[in-house]
């Protein structure tokens, strides 16, 4: 009974991957006609689930955090320390270190921690978002064990200059401002320029009118975020393109700011620059990323400092081995070299440098019914020996009728994770002799597309996976917290999602449901107490998660309901303590109007409509019902 209840409570869910998957097969354009700009994970991971978040959702979350967007639209779980505070991901039952976050194809996980604090990445910072499920080391490299989050920029080629201003006023004296310009024009006979300059500042004062909710304290904190984005694309009529992308972020979190003795400040600043040259089937990329992390308590003048820089270069060449209309065989080979420099107080403050390299070959074969990919990658790291990581995946269209299409998918892939700089270099605790974690991921799924009528479309996808990660690192207390390759984690699960859409005249409606079962546990005995831990669900990974997204649109007005539910989250390794399951509901009303030729979009949102109590990692309550009004003004082309 209890099982039925908890399942029922949490069975809702997510996604658009279906449409994307269907489109991938449907709209296969002969490759000779286009310059291939897809980054590898979007193109060479046949048989694995890829969920592209559509632009409508990105627009709805224009003032939102990436954490909220993903929680409400995918089965990904987050370990959340509080509003505007550290939020780390658990992708398919793995830890925060097991998700690669790519920005325009480059892994931007903070290398000292080997993870991304999702609270520092507002949705305003990128134009495209996709979620790649499952291990994809062959196409992505390190960290892609549970899956990958793909963020990217998009050029806009509409001529002229379009300016945009956005402002959010929200509860708790929180506010956000965005200002940006997009521009495109011809540069002489052969070249076209497209660019985007965009800046945002978000101030979260979190001035709650209450100090407790249902006897759980709310933790006082403020977060100030700033970001700047500069994209430039130069496109030659031959298809050659030079692009420059820059994303600067600055995140300033202060906990208990009112208490000058106990206050704590975490400041994260990142600069990410990328230059890409694409010609015919060659791609060259040069990137530079600098991550600075400062932590201070009480006196903010002399923080503990972490500073890491990476110089990244990548060259790829794609070969069309077969390019008939019914059969295409493509091979992409590539190499990557990165140089890391870190100066971290915890490592002794001296400069530590290392080099990393990758060689890979990605093969993609497509017919009218088949899509197959076979990939292999070997990484090289200074003082370290990562394993060779192959992958093989296939999709086959079982049924191909007008009113029903059914595709079967399957893949098997190896993955690895290069231990973080902290894990290897931290004074006394780090272990330079660590082995890479190594994973083996199997997954299989079915995707169906059923146009029930001219107005109603139904897509459904069901995926099962099994991911076994060995040499999982552990800060072992029995050896004074040295990092060791002790654990073996097995994650397995089922993901189901369905999307129903209805279109008639000026009416549109949609319903997306997603459900995921995630069972992830540590399976190896390594000390006297591990008997209490073996087989137990990993902490902060709910077994059941669900999302429900529904909307009704008439003309330029859209009402959306977003729901996310999860079953209990264990907070201790032996599962003796847990946070109860929760259901969060948000409502969003949007309207677009034109005022003297200026398109204006107004959004009104109510978050946590039912005032549910959700508790963060520090056992503090997250805020109750709250609201925001967003105004986005798009000035027409000048």
């Amino acid at each position: 009974m209890a099982i039925v209840l908890s399942t029922g409570r949490s069975s809702f869910a997510q996604t658009d991957s279906l449409i994307a998957a269907m489109n991938r097969v449907e709209t296969a354009v002969p490759l000779s006609a286009v310059t291939v700009r897809d980054i590898a994970p979007e193109r060479f991971l046949a048989g694995q689930k890829l969920q592209r978040i559509d632009s409508t959702i990105l627009l709805q979350f224009k003032f939102g955090s990436l954490t909220d967007l993903l929680a409400l639209n995918t089965p990904l779980a987050f370990k959340n320390y509080g509003p505007g505070q550290l939020a780390t991901i658990a992708f398919r039952g793995t830890s925060a270190n097991h998700t690669a976050v790519l920005w325009n194809g480059i892994n931007i996980n903070q290398p000292n921690l080997g993870q991304t604090d999702f609270s520092t990445l507002p949705v305003a910072g990128f134009d495209r978002l996709a979620v790649q499920y499952g291990s994809s080391a062959s196409a992505v490299g390190s960290d892609a064990v549970g899956g990958s989050i793909l963020l990217g920029s998009n050029p806009g080629w509409k001529s002229g200059i379009q300016a945009t201003i956005g402002q959010q006023l929200a509860s708790f004296q929180n506010n956000q401002t965005q200002v940006g310009v997009r521009y495109a024009s011809a540069l002489g006979q052969s070249w076209k320029l497209s660019g985007k300059t965009f800046a945002y500042r978000n101030q979260f004062n979190n001035a709650y009118p209450y100090t407790e909710r249902q006897h759980y304290f709310l933790e006082p904190s403020t977060t100030a975020q700033r970001g700047f984005i500069q994209d430039l694309y130069f496109l030659h009529k031959s298809g050659r393109q030079i692009s420059i992308n820059a994303w600067l972020t600055d995140n300033d979190l202060i906990i208990t700011p009112q208490d000058t003795i106990a206050r704590e400040r975490t400041r994260t600043q990142s600069a990410r620059l990328l230059a890409t040259y694409e010609a015919n089937r060659m791609t060259f990329r040069v990137g530079w990323i600098r991550d600075v992390l400062d932590y201070a308590k009480q006196n903010f003048d002399n923080p503990s400092h972490t500073e890491t820089e990476r110089l990244i270069s990548r060259a790829e060449r794609e070969f069309a081995l077969l390019s008939g209309t019914n059969r295409q065989l493509n091979l992409r080979i590539g190499g990557e070299w990165s140089h890391y420099r870190t100066r971290t107080d915890g490592y002794g403050g001296q400069l530590i440098q290392e080099d990393r390299g990758d060689l890979y070959a990605l093969l993609r074969f497509q017919t009218t019914r088949w899509l197959v990919s076979a990939n292999i990658r070997q990484a090289f790291v200074t003082r370290f020996n990562p394993p060779i990581t192959p992958s093989l995946g296939a999709e086959y269209q079982l049924v191909k009728r007008d009113r029903f299409k059914l595709t079967a998918k399957g893949s098997v892939s190896r993955s690895y994770r290069v231990p973080t700089l902290n894990e290897r270099y931290w004074i006394d605790l780090g272990n330079p002799n660590l082995l890479p974690e190594s994973g083996l991921n199997f997954e299989a799924g079915l995707a169906a597309n059923t146009p029930l009528s001219d107005r109603v479309n139904l897509t459904t996808e069901l995926t099962g996976y099994h991911n076994r990660v060995d040499n999982w690192t552990y800060w072992n207390p029995t050896t004074n917290y040295h990092v060791e390759n002790l654990q073996l984690v097995v994650a397995r699960g089922i993901e189901f999602n369905t999307n129903l859409t209805y279109v008639q005249n000026s009416w549109r409606a949609g319903l997306r449901l997603g459900y995921a079962l995630t069972r992830s546990s540590q399976e190896r005995a390594y000390d006297a107490y591990s008997q209490d831990v073996i087989g137990k669900q990993l902490v902060y990974v709910p077994i059941h998660t669900g999302t429900l997204n529904a909307y009704l649109q008439h003309g330029q007005t859209r009402l959306s309901v977003q729901m996310q539910a999860n079953s209990r989250r264990y907070i201790t390794f032996d599962n003796s303590q847990f946070f109860k399951g929760t259901t969060l509901t948000n409502i969003l009303l949007e309207h677009s109007l034109t005022w003297k030729t200026v398109p204006i979009r107004v959004q009104g949102q109510v978050n946590n409509v039912f005032d549910a109590l959700v508790v963060g990692v520090k056992r503090n309550a997250l805020p109750g019902r709250n609201g925001a009004i967003n105004l986005i003004i798009n000035f027409p082309s000048l």
């Binding site: 249902q214 006897h215 759980y216 304290f217 933790e219 006082p220 906990i255 208990t256 208490d259 003795i261 106990a262 206050r263 201070a296 308590k297 009480q298 006196n299 002399n302 503990s304 207390p477 029995t478 000390d527 006297a528 107490y529 209490d532 831990v533 902490v539 907070i571 201790t572 390794f573 032996d574 003796s576 303590q577 990692v617 520090k618 056992r619 503090n620």
Partner: protein
């Protein structure tokens, strides 16, 4: 089908009536006699609990505060507990400043009666009874940056709690890192945490709740207990010191090879138990040299002595506070009784 429905309704009704019968019984006092285990929890998870262990059982009742008060939450590490005239005071230390508290419960049932909060309570360390309806709670006050040497606010304070009104009536300025307190007559002898570096022994007048005297002790004093002769024992680094509370004169000083751990007085107050170099020892209060005898050939992070049974209680934790720790019980002779799984980081006992 219909039959099945009738059947299940019938079963439901029976179950409901049984449940009703059960709840209509007079309020039980489930925690009348036994051992409270204070679980500190994992620091930043703020998940400390109090578990209850009956003397003749080897399983604990977990998180009894939550059981007795389903709508409330402790949200912090459990730092201390004592009872004063039918009321229990639970010290709760949260990792965030301003979120510490003291829950006042009815003894026996653990039903909440009141909560003391910031700014009266900040980093509570120990609670003792100092009168029929009065308790002292030593508080470090807000802590700063450890690496900058400003962790301990100078001075910390003692919160005076009136249990008639369940309020903090006064904050007595104490010493830096104020912690352990022992009552002798109408005075409380107050020391501090070793890491604070403070070397003052503070004496507080219980009648006026004011400072009476400060004694420079030479090293950080940590009061332990009064022995059978009424002498006060303190720990000062590697030393156990016996002091005459009336004359304030040091009567005896036992110097060990290293600082003894978890020094706990026996039920008859004629000996101490302590841990040293991986073993558990006992030493008489009459000893003249620091040479105890081994009782148990292993050590524990916390020791407790049950005054009713003289049994020795030791805690053993998996080093990561992310899974339950254990309480291991021995006869006073050192014979193993059993091992009981407690909750996260058991680190204190209260016997009643």
């Amino acid at each position: 089908m219909k039959n099945q429905l009738t059947k299940s309704i019938a079963i439901g009704l029976v179950a409901l009536s049984v449940w009703n019968c059960k709840t209509s019984d007079p309020e039980p006092t489930p925690y009348e006699s036994g051992v409270f285990i204070l679980n500190a929890g994992n620091f930043s998870n703020n998940n400390g609990t109090v578990s209850f262990l009956s003397r003749n059982s080897n399983t604990v009742a977990t998180n009894i505060f939550q059981t007795a008060n389903p709508s409330l939450v402790l949200s912090g590490g459990v730092q201390g507990y004592t009872e004063v005239n039918g009321k229990g005071l639970i010290l709760v230390d949260n990792s965030t400043a301003g979120q510490d508290k003291v829950e006042i419960v009815e003894t026996g049932t653990f039903v909440s009666r009141a909560t003391l909060k910031t700014p009266n309570i900040e980093n509570p360390r120990q609670v003792i009874a100092v009168g029929p309806n009065k308790a002292y709670i030593s508080c470090w006050d807000v802590s700063g940056d450890y690496s900058a040497g400003t962790f301990y606010k100078d001075p910390g304070y003692i919160a005076v709690v009136d249990l008639n009104t369940n309020t903090v009536t006064k904050k007595i300025p104490a010493v830096k890192g104020v912690e352990k307190m022992v009552v002798s007559g109408t005075e409380a002898f107050v020391g501090s945490n070793t890491y604070s570096g403070d070397q003052t022994l503070l004496i507080v007048d219980l009648n006026t709740d004011t400072e009476k005297q400060r004694i420079a002790f030479g090293s950080t004093p940590e009061p332990i207990a009064l022995d059978a002769t009424g002498k006060l024992w303190l720990q000062a680094g590697k030393d156990l010191v016996q002091l005459d509370p009336a004359s304030r004169v040091v009567a005896k000083r036992l110097t060990f090879a290293a600082a003894p751990g978890s020094v706990t007085i026996s039920a008859d107050k004629k000996s101490f138990y302590y841990t040293l170099s991986g073993k558990t020892y006992t030493i008489s209060t009459d000893a003249t040299t620091a040479s105890g005898s081994i009782v148990i050939s292993r050590s524990f992070s916390t020791l407790g002595i049950d005054p009713q049974t003289n049994r020795i209680y030791g805690t053993q934790n998996p080093l990561l506070y992310t899974q339950a720790g254990y309480v291991i019980r021995y006869e006073s002779t050192g014979t193993l009784v059993d091992s009981v799984k407690a909750e996260i980081a058991p680190s204190g006992f209260y016997f009643r």
